[in-house]
Assembly symmetry: C2
Homo-oligomer: 535 residues x 2
């Protein structure tokens, strides 16, 4: 993959010179940002520079204290909506208490306006590249057998952090392509223990007729009857990879098949792996980036867990409780190693709940579901914890987008110089929000793209369309023309009142300028050959 | 009004004998309860008796310490939905921070499953009588000029507490009838400072065309244009009472007219009155029952307040912030008097938000609005605070119904004997929930009646119909046949799955038994003469 010349150059310089050049690089290296961000920069640039200097100072003192850069643990949960965790009004009310994540929220920063892409693969693309998926050509949810994935020319967060000397590990659901070149060990990860795709496909594969969790697990959950007509059975006749283990730039070893029963405990297993990885790096004195993409609740597993208030006959609730218990183990391990003050823990979900899986799916208080750009699809729970650096008990309403974590983490790791500057980066550096609290977000807008099954509906090439924009409290849906004031109507139930029509003028300008930037930096188009075999 | 012979008899006995008889009265005096409650009593009666004995002991020790029975302050808010207060996921997210009520929740018990009747007058009836409004004949929202109200034969909470030696005060929106006999000073209140009806009617009355809050208040809120055709103007030609002040059993004095501008500050004025009343009773050494029914947010006022995160151009947000500031003043006054440990403060709302007033109305995360029996209409915020007696930071999911406060407060005040036993009382004693916490509610069901504009649709006479039942986590809508599992689907969006159909058998039984009790204790029918003049 292509790396910027500047960063390679810097990497070869001795430390002290590197530091000087790194500081001056803020001026030298201008990331390509979207027009909306550029406008904010012009307005607040000098304030931001002052804040950044203070943040840098704080980080230097932390690095001096721990003798290494801060560790990064990112947990990407699957399909967990804005309303499932106790801290978001769910928990015991939904029959699935989440004490560990609620405590994490108490100890850290719980985001009230955290946005993702509306579905699984796209959010992973945004997190890994800091870019809206539409720019990368990978803007759809991948299915097994699809010869498409994250191209090598995209610069992943793992690659960026590798440049800064981080040990990088990937655990769990990858879902960014299954060909060898797409796999995590070829995308900047030193170590990976993972499943390639969506766990939801297993019931179809494993037992095409009358799959019943009860028989599989001995659990009294509601059975899922799946009855696939014989004529379509060969559609499913693609060999599926199971549990993969790999080291950087080396073909993966498939260590075990996956199955519905294995999914009952697979996330526990992954948690063990994450803990072992973190401990190894800690003992070796290397800062780590651990990326843990959990399978809960995108699978039809029904783990054997218990908890007060658990809705035992609901497998989804059991998954969430299992997930929370695993989070408790992760947090405890950081605590035991004595590194929680040098570790940013970020817990986010990839999109809203999957309505089609009801009742074994998640929940959002907001309107809409996964794959939609109504708030329920894209406004997702998110919590950041970093004792000593992030003050406890914060609940900012500031807008944050999943792509921001790319830029924020790169900056925290001192790896800003490794972010490519030959393409638009949508992610914004949110360190000031983390360190200074509510009101310090560096965006007041989000663009929402939605995957449309028909190609070329959008003038920009790929199959996803710009479907909504949030500008301040106003949300505009491009295809339907609905307009909402999210402050008065967070569930988007009262569209189109004349008092918000003023917003159309600035929103139209945002769209023009956004399109102009796309003309200047065209979206990547991946020519997909016919769906085929797994490599 | 008719009082039970027993209570009158007991009231004349000396204290020590009264105490003995009061304790034995648990066995002697059996309240008439609905069949569903009777079934629970049969199952848990001996557990409950043990809990009650412990609660009684705790209360006796508190009474010994403060040398009087505990004070009761009930705040009934108007149209504030499950989602507006910060502690219910609203607050700054909705542009209306509520720090005082959020702190109250932190210090006390915030109910997650608190139910009311679906509209204004009915909830007030249930609170004042401990009975579903349908039983009292007063089951509809009253309009000015209507010759209907709470009949004298109903025994109000103020009457019950008066029997126990409490000073009783009523403040704010009465809305239980406007004829003299219906007014609070004839319904057990020693003192009342109030408005008779709904404040929402003022814009219609005051300025039939182009009423604009901006001109009235100098505030830049959205204007409400009201254009009433000339032919209907005489409908509004009824003299309206303004601010009423009265002492027990004495005709009220109308001290000032009400107007839209007066409503901007009227709740502040009422707060002053409540504080003065509480202080007077405190200084006189008399336990008090203060009932404060606020006008926020049922009026179109636009108070002049400020707060960080306030959505200033939204009058409803300003009302909520004003309300919260008034709550802060109430709590502070209890604290200053040093009586917060001897005062139960209960803050509840009367029903969900009024959709028709959007955007100047409240908000619920739940489906449905005021007047509906979907959760949004009837599941309402509720917080109880009583330092030393109610442990802080509790969020029980236990079901509570507004009628329960009648029975609970009567029991707390040692006035159980004054509850009539010649009629069905729906309210359940929830003292054990308050004192022992989550899991101690004495109901796992609620009946929801909805007012239907056409008479005799129901076989029981009045115009409201049994429209939904909650039984455990199952909610059944009688007219539509929808059935929901609220634990999995709190927003009632996925009806009628076969896995919940088992519930139809026990629910049908609940309905039969409920109807049988209504046959035994028939609902009151108020023969209403043609709508007429204010008395």
């Amino acid at each position: 993959m292509s790396k910027k010349r500047q960063s390679t150059f810097l990497a070869n310089l001795p430390g002290s010179i590197l530091l000087i050049c790194f500081l001056c690089s803020f001026e030298v290296q201008a990331l390509q940002v979207d027009a909306a961000q550029k406008a904010l920069r012009e307005k607040f640039g000098s304030e931001w520079a002052t804040q950044d200097a203070a943040v840098d100072k704080q980080l230097r003192s932390l690095t001096a204290r721990f003798e290494r850069r801060p560790n990064i643990l990112v947990i990407l949960a699957d399909d967990i909506g804005w309303g499932e965790l106790g801290s978001y009004g769910g928990g015991k009310l939904k029959g699935a208490p989440t004490p560990a994540l609620d405590q994490m929220a108490d100890e850290g920063m719980r985001f009230l306006s955290h946005y993702t892409e509306p579905s699984c693969t796209p959010t992973r693309v945004a997190l890994m590249t800091g870019r809206h998926p539409v720019r990368t050509g990978l803007d759809e949810v991948l299915f097994p057998g699809q010869v498409k994935g994250l191209v090598a020319d995209e610069v992943t967060l793992a690659e960026v952090l590798s440049e800064a000397g981080y040990a990088t590990g990937m655990f769990g659901k990858w879902h960014l392509g299954e060909l060898q070149e797409h796999q995590p060990q070829y995308q900047g990860f030193d170590y990976a223990y993972y499943n390639l795709y969506n766990g939801a496909i297993w019931p179809w594969r494993e037992n095409a007729t009358h799959y019943d969790t009860e028989n599989d697990t001995g659990i009294t959950g509601p059975p899922y009857f799946i009855d696939i007509p014989e004529a379509y059975e060969e559609t499913f006749d693609i060999p599926l990879h199971g549990i993969m283990r790999a080291k950087r730039n080396t073909p993966a070893e498939e260590i075990d098949p996956l199955s519905l029963s294995r999914f009952n405990t697979f996330d526990n297993e992954l948690t063990d792996e994450v803990i072992a990885f973190m401990r190894d790096q800690h003992e070796a004195g290397i800062p780590f980036f651990a990326y843990f993409a959990t399978n809960t609740q995108q699978v039809f597993s029904c783990p054997d867990v218990d908890s007060p208030y658990l809705d035992k006959s609901n497998c989804q609730a059991r998954q969430l409780v299992q997930h929370d218990k695993n989070m408790a183990r992760l947090f405890e391990s950081l605590d035991n190693m004595g590194i929680d003050e040098n570790t940013l823990v970020l817990w986010i979900s990839d999109n809203g709940p999957m309505n089609k899986f009801y009742p074994s799916t998640g929940f959002s208080w907001l309107r809409g579901y996964k794959s939609e750009v109504y708030e329920g699809g894209v406004r997702t729970p998110g919590i950041a914890k970093w004792p000593g650096s992030i003050a406890p008990g914060q609940t900012p309403i500031d807008i944050v987008h999943v792509s921001d974590w790319y830029t924020t983490i790169a900056n925290l790791a001192g790896a800003k110089a490794a972010i490519p500057d030959d393409r638009v980066i949508d992610g914004v550096d949110q360190r000031s929000l983390l360190f200074n609290g509510e009101g310090y977000s560096r965006r007041d807008y989000v663009f929402f793209y939605r995957y449309i099954a028909y190609k070329n509906l959008s003038s920009t090439g790929p199959a996803s369309m710009l479907s909504a924009i949030r500008m301040g409290d106003i949300k505009f849906h491009l295809q339907s023309g609905e307009i909402y004031n999210l402050l008065r109507d967070p569930v988007e139930s009262h569209p189109g009142r004349r008092e918000y029509l003023w917003a159309m003028q600035p929103i139209r300008r945002m769209i023009w300028e956004h399109r102009a930037m796309m003309k200047k930096y065209p979206n990547r188009v991946i020519e997909e050959t016919a769906g085929g075999k797994v490599d």
